[in-house]
């Protein structure tokens, strides 16, 4: 194994490949920062360029764009409360609060460090135990996926604002939006009203940008008018302090592990990973009430999770030849055009490519850290640009992101409508994040549920007969019930302590 790794590092550390990895990381960071633009489209654009390179260098570059994009995703979430990627929605909750309190630098820095640790961890796993982990991923069939998504949906419990009913309604609203489009299982067009532009459903980015970006601009306008928007607190330090780092290292590590294993599952993805890790982190915390008010752990864990997930998604591609969806599907296409058959024999037949790529990922993560570190400082200063200039420009850039998805007017119109709804919801105590969670998980959850039932010939028992599925479902129930149990035991303990003190 170590000889393979050394071999790979040897390939990666040629001047050309270092240069290529650097360019890839840079491009990835840029598209990651720009809201609405994702790695998938960028990789597709880069394809013609990389075909003139040797296959190994080509893949090094494409992979660098892919994991680089995850590094940049948190930036807009933190600075302007607009998620750059679907995997950075959760980061908005605590990240933007931190920025308003003058801790934008810490938030950006912790997401860079977390990303680095997570990225490196996933390469290490990929290097040493890639194959067994990939085999484990195949054990996930429709029944297991349904339970996983149900588990994911339970994380909504930690995203509730003041009203639980409203949070549930927000989630259901997201799930409803997910039902628009052709139903995969039956082929029936649902809620499309004969409009072909709705056949593929409502894209997540359209809703996210609409709800977050448009409403943010209006709300800032109101706050400026009424004077409610105080001066953004001048940051004391543009970087993270050592104490803050120590405080968040646990979150980073937990986020990394959760993110990696969710990312390995084909189709589950970085977004679910980030929601799950945020939820778990909040539940583990001694003082969960600080989450949502600018807790650094609320940035550290989802940002580590989404990076670990993007590394994890490469694993089934390399070891099994199965794309995890989105960007990895384009990379699979690229492999074929480079005359490399993606499949389980990739490691044996194209050792140069696989190990070169893995070697380059160690380097790439380091490059990204080096690249992002000065950017932290630069981006943190963006907070001092007056909102009256910053927000309109961000809005225009976000709109381009939406437009670039499929060049459709329908997307823009949906974005406008979501803006109105998002504004109303924010003004009236409906949390926005559950809408997006519902939208992301809804379609896949319904699909896996019905796929599982087709396979089991209609028997609902399938969900509890499969051990992985059963475990996840029990976990979900515990997750919902646990806070109440913990609360009661805490009250009980407090009462007992109080009585002890009286006796003493």
């Amino acid at each position: 194994m170590f000889s393979n790794l050394l071999y790979g590092l040897g390939i990666a550390f040629t001047p050309f490949n270092i240069g290529i990895a650097f360019v890839g990381c840079l491009v990835g960071t840029v598209v990651g920062v720009l809201p609405g633009l994702g790695p998938t489209g960028t990789i597709a654009i880069l394809l013609p360029m990389v075909f003139s390179m040797p296959p190994t260098s080509a893949m090094i570059m494409l992979a660098a764009v892919y994991y680089g994009a995850m590094y940049g995703g948190s930036t807009t979430s933190i600075l302007v409360n607009i998620p750059g990627e679907s995997a950075s929605v959760v980061t908005c909750i605590d990240g933007h609060k931190m920025a308003l309190k003058g801790r934008a630098g810490s938030a950006l820095a912790v997401s860079a460090i977390g990303s680095f640790i997570a990225g490196t961890f996933s390469v290490i796993v990929l290097t040493f135990i890639g194959e067994p982990v990939a085999e484990l991923a195949l054990r996930f069939g429709p029944a297991e996926f349904f339970s996983l998504f149900a588990f994911g949906l339970c994380t909504v419990a930690s995203l509730t604002g003041k009203s639980v009913v409203r949070a549930i309604m927000a989630t259901v609203f997201g799930l409803m939006m997910a039902t628009v489009g052709i139903d995969l299982i039956s082929g029936a067009p649902r809620f499309t009203f004969g409009n072909p532009f709705l056949l593929d459903g409502i894209d997540f980015i359209v809703v996210a940008i609409g709800m977050f970006a448009i409403s943010e601009v209006i709300i800032i306008a109101e706050e400026l008018k009424s004077g409610a928007r105080g001066q953004v607190i001048k940051p004391k330090s543009l970087y993270i302090s050592f104490e803050e780092f120590l405080f968040s290292i646990g979150s980073i590590l937990r986020g990394t592990v959760i993110g990696f294993f969710v990312g390995v599952l084909p189709g589950a993805g970085a977004t679910l990973a980030s929601f799950l890790s945020y939820d778990i982190e909040k539940r583990l915390a001694k003082n969960p009430e600080t989450f949502g008010e600018g807790d650094i752990r609320g940035v550290a864990c989802p940002e580590s999770a989404n990076n670990a997930a993007s590394g994890g998604a490469l694993l089934p591609l390399l070891t099994l030849g199965i794309p995890g969806g989105g960007a990895t599907a384009v990379m699979l296409g690229a492999l074929m055009m480079l005359d490399i058959t993606p499949g389980p024999l990739l490691f044996q037949k194209h050792a140069h490519l696989v190990w070169g790529l893995i070697g380059s990922m160690y380097l790439g993560n380091l490059l990204l850290l080096v690249l992002n570190w000065p950017l932290v400082n630069l981006f943190a200063r963006i907070m001092s640009i007056p909102a009256r200039y910053l927000m309109p420009i961000v809005l225009v850039i976000s709109t381009i992101g939406v437009w670039s998805l499929s060049y459709s007017e329908m997307d823009l119109i949906i974005m406008g409508v979501c803006g109105v709804i998002g504004y109303y919801m924010r003004k009236h105590n409906y949390p926005l994040a559950p809408v997006l969670l519902g939208l992301i998980l809804g379609g896949r959850m319904e699909q896996s549920f019905r796929q599982a039932l087709i396979i089991s010939r209609g028997s609902l028992l399938t969900f509890i007969q499969k051990p992985i599925s059963l475990t996840l479902l029990i976990g979900a129930v515990l997750f919902l019930a646990l806070p109440y149990l913990l609360e009661r035991s805490r009250q009980f303990r407090l009462a007992r302590e109080a009585s002890f003190e009286e006796e003493a």
Binding site: L47, L138, G187, F197
Partner: protein
């Protein structure tokens, strides 16, 4: 000194360029601005590959000198793109759109109100074949085993494919069922979001048989993880001569997946002629054929009126097929 040399090189180059422009034979129509490809799907799929490969071969071989862009316009198996092209891009001579049987299915099942009459079909550039695939350790060794199991109990086998019921991967299963005298609607078929997910589910042992394209499983085949029971081609594939066809095992199921291009309605005759000729030249180049082989596509081509007639016939055939199979009332 150096500057003069550089300058003279520039002058010579410019002169050469001017001569080249002047000297080129007058053609009836040729593109004067950049070419736009529309891939009616997300990056990474078959349609996207047609566009990007053609664009690259155009550039490499110099068949088209103007730059070419690829725009992805996913939605409803081509319905979104065809609606856009018919409604917004009438008469655009610089626009090429990728297509395949999936588009015909969208038309047949009335997902889109437009048909091939509303656009300008150009050419088929390649074809591909599907196969019935099982895990290497499956109890089905040959197609006959599968047929026997289906005949004994039509609900005993779970099929998987990468598209919704009533479209391509499912039709391949339905055709098999129809051929061996089992009601196609009663065969268990699990649709997945794309061939990759269906393949993962097959490898994980969650389903029994996958209805997948041969090129999708090439890597797994090489590693011995899966076995192809039968390919749905007329004769054995050039790229995979070891795989048996369904026909040679006595089950007459042939299903060709074509990959091609169409243009907007109302394009000028000379532009259509130019593109048909250019694509004809393109598919003959070694550059194209090298790419095509890598993708596992077969060299079956049709052009202009031939192609137009073929797809229009296909539309009618699919309509009656879907009615026959019970997907269309």
């Amino acid at each position: 000194m150096r500057r003069i040399a550089l300058l003279s090189v520039l002058v010579v180059a410019l002169a050469g360029f001017l001569v080249a422009i002047q000297g080129s034979p007058a053609v009836a129509w040729e593109p004067k601005k950049s070419i736009e490809f529309i891939a009616p799907a997300n990056p990474g799929g078959g349609w996207d590959t047609i566009c990007r490969t053609s664009a690259r071969v155009f550039k490499k071989t110099g068949l088209v000198t103007k730059p070419a862009y690829v725009k992805n316009m996913p939605g409803g198996s081509g319905s979104v793109a065809i609606a856009y092209v018919v409604e917004k891009r009438k008469g655009d001579n610089n626009l090429l759109v990728a297509a395949s049987n999936s588009l015909t299915f969208s038309m047949a099942i009335k997902r889109t109100p437009y048909t091939y009459d509303d656009v300008t079909p150009l050419a088929q550039v390649a074809s591909e074949y599907g196969a019935y695939v099982v895990r290497a350790d499956s109890k089905f060794k040959t197609l006959a085993d599968l047929v026997k199991a289906l005949k004994a109990d039509r609900k005993s086998v779970t099929f998987a494919g990468g598209s919704a019921p009533g479209s391509m991967d499912h039709i391949k299963v339905a055709l098999l069922a129809k051929e061996i005298g089992v009601d196609p609607l009663e065969v268990i078929y699990v649709p997945y979001q794309g061939g990759g997910e269906a393949l993962a589910s097959l490898l994980g042992g969650h389903v029994d048989v996958g209805s997948l394209d041969v090129s999708e499983v090439a890597g797994q085949l090489e590693a011995g993880k899966v076995r192809v029971l039968a390919v749905q081609s007329e004769s054995r594939l050039k790229g995979f001569p070891n795989l048996p066809t369904a026909r040679e095992q006595g089950v007459d199921v042939v299903f060709t997946v074509w990959r091609g291009l169409y243009m907007a309605p109302g394009v000028s005759k000379s532009a259509k002629k130019f593109w048909v000729e250019t694509i004809k030249k393109m598919v003959a180049t070694p550059e194209w054929n090298a790419e095509r082989e890598k993708l596992g596509w077969e060299p079956v081509v049709k052009f202009g009126d031939d192609f137009e007639k073929y797809v229009k016939d296909e539309h009618q055939r699919y309509k009656s097929l879907l009615k026959e199979l019970g997907f269309l009332k």
